[in-house]
């Protein structure tokens, strides 16, 4: 009996030790990642780096046009995806209402499933799709417009799912009260649903921005990789993520610069996510008071 207890204790110790070791390994790996980027990349980051055009295939100069192109791509994607996703989420929300018919509820369930599937499609497949549809069939060529549209297609399912969840935040009792008062749908939305939902709507959109910023594979075949300042939406231009890829793969001696660009990209993504989380927490605290 005692031996058994001893054995068990030893086993517990062993499990704990292995778990700690594994965790340390993970922390070390990611520490190495962040350390590498910080040590090799932070030195280059400066005001000039942000605004100057890249020179010598990106070995010197900055990321001026690239930052602009990245911003334009994300803005295009948001502009295309947010209205569509918001309306689609409204549809899902309505279908969940008590007075909605059975057929409609089924349709909504099917739509949710479809969105889940589309949301899990690899981004490079969206790249193929965008290349075939926007670049070739629509004749936009490799351009910011084609890249933005491809990103928008990618974001629609993610945003709709996020918005759908946000809209569900409105308590059923309040909705029922609104229905009892014969509120119009628009009025219910305006006075009952949105006050509960908007922080999460915003957070969903911001997270989608972070996702779009990080995207590379979908842009490779749709917005091309010209590293210059774009002057129109039909110009080809590279995003920051594509710049990292090109420096890492195609530029001998481009590592240091790739580190800077990667660090910048990471900082942007993390800052955006942190801002979304922080804002959400703040709103929740305020609401709680």
């Amino acid at each position: 009996m005692r031996e058994l207890a001893m054995g068990r204790r030893a086993m517990e110790r062993a499990v704990a030790a292995v778990a700690w070791a594994g965790t340390l390994l993970v922390v070390a790996a990611f520490g190495a990642l962040l350390g590498e980027l910080l040590v090799r990349g932070a030195g280059e980051l400066s005001w000039r780096y942000l605004v100057e055009a890249p020179r010598d295939a990106g070995r010197s100069g900055g990321v001026g046009g690239i930052v602009v192109a990245t911003g334009v791509l994300v803005a295009l994607a948001l502009a295309g995806a947010v209205p569509l996703a918001l309306l689609a989420a409204l549809f899902l929300d309505e279908a969940g209402a008590a007075q909605a018919g059975r057929a409609r509820r089924r349709l909504a369930a099917a739509l949710r499933r479809v969105l889940d599937v589309v949301g899990s499609v690899p981004s490079i497949v969206f790249g193929l799709f965008g290349n075939a549809l926007f670049c070739r069939a629509f004749g936009w060529g490799e351009s910011l417009l084609a890249g933005g549209a491809t990103l928008a297609c990618m974001m629609v399912p993610l945003l709709t799912i996020a918005f759908d969840e946000a809209l569900q935040r409105a308590p059923a009792a309040e909705r029922a009260a609104a229905a009892a008062c014969a509120f119009s749908r628009a009025a219910t939305l305006r006075h009952v649903v949105l006050p509960h939902a908007w922080p999460l709507l915003l957070a969903g959109a911001v997270l989608a921005v972070a996702r779009a910023l990080a995207e590379t594979a979908a842009l490779l075949f749709t917005s091309g990789y010209v590293d210059r300042m774009p002057t129109s939406l039909l110009d080809s231009a590279r995003s920051l993520s594509v710049h990292v890829w090109d420096l890492a793969l195609n530029v001998a001696g481009g590592e240091a610069r790739a580190c800077s660009a990667a660090l910048l990209l990471l900082l942007l993504v993390v800052a955006i996510e942190a801002a979304a989380r922080g804002a959400l927490a703040w709103l929740r605290r305020r609401a709680g008071r």
């Binding site: 890492a248 990667a262 993504v269 959400l280």
Partner: protein, 294 residues
Amino acid sequence: MPSPRRLDRALQLASAAAAAAALLLLLGLAAFLLRESAPALREVGLVRLVGDRGWHPTRGAFGMAPLVAASGAVALGALTLALPLALAVAFVRLAYAPPRLAALLRALLQLLAAVPSVVLGFFGLVTVVPLLLAIEPPGASLLAGMVVLALMVLPTLALLIEGALAGLPSGERAAAAALGLARTTVLLHLALPRARGAIGAALLVALGRALGETMAVVLVTGNVVQWPSALLAPVRTLTANLALELPYASGLHRSALFVAGLLLLGATAALLLIASRCGARERWRGAREESARA
């Protein structure tokens, strides 16, 4: 100002139209991939797409099997590496770490989940590949791809597993506490068996992500088309093949690449549907939402 009724009607129509558009997106995606891959499916045929010796599309050999095998090997290998580590992190956070450290670990996981995959691939290129090169050239290899992909899926996997393990009913928790069971025992013998299904589903979702990843892989696997025979031998995955060849492919070659796209679409969709059967969808969403919020 339009009347409330009109506004309602417009809103309803617009939202129905948007929902239809969202549905159309999947149909359009599949339809376009099918349309573009039709020539290859018709003229080359599935048999040759699988059975041809080697992938030399410009000379009429369309054997995609090594690419598919490489994709599978890299993704499965990545999960094999990531699962024990994710379990370890989940155990530490749930049972061993003091609250402060646990919170710190969570923040770290969230930060890592946000790292763009191209950055991970770059990190693999400058650290993992040279490390392996020192062991056996060329360094860029199946193993390098596995390591990088493992790093990519690890944070989400750990958060998901933790969610599954923490879902022990409070009654059982109380009973375990009354018996004086150690936290390790509770996790190992109560929570883990209960969470097996959810962990399996999480693995399926992670597998889907790993299969579909391009940037992290293309930078580190060496991209030689061959069967994955050794850990330190280079391979080329389906996704890497797309990234390398789509820019210049034309004719049947281009069409064959779209077949690969179709294959990826089918594989990830199937994985997701199976996972949602196992009830992963809610949990996956739960974790995502939570990681977005906490």
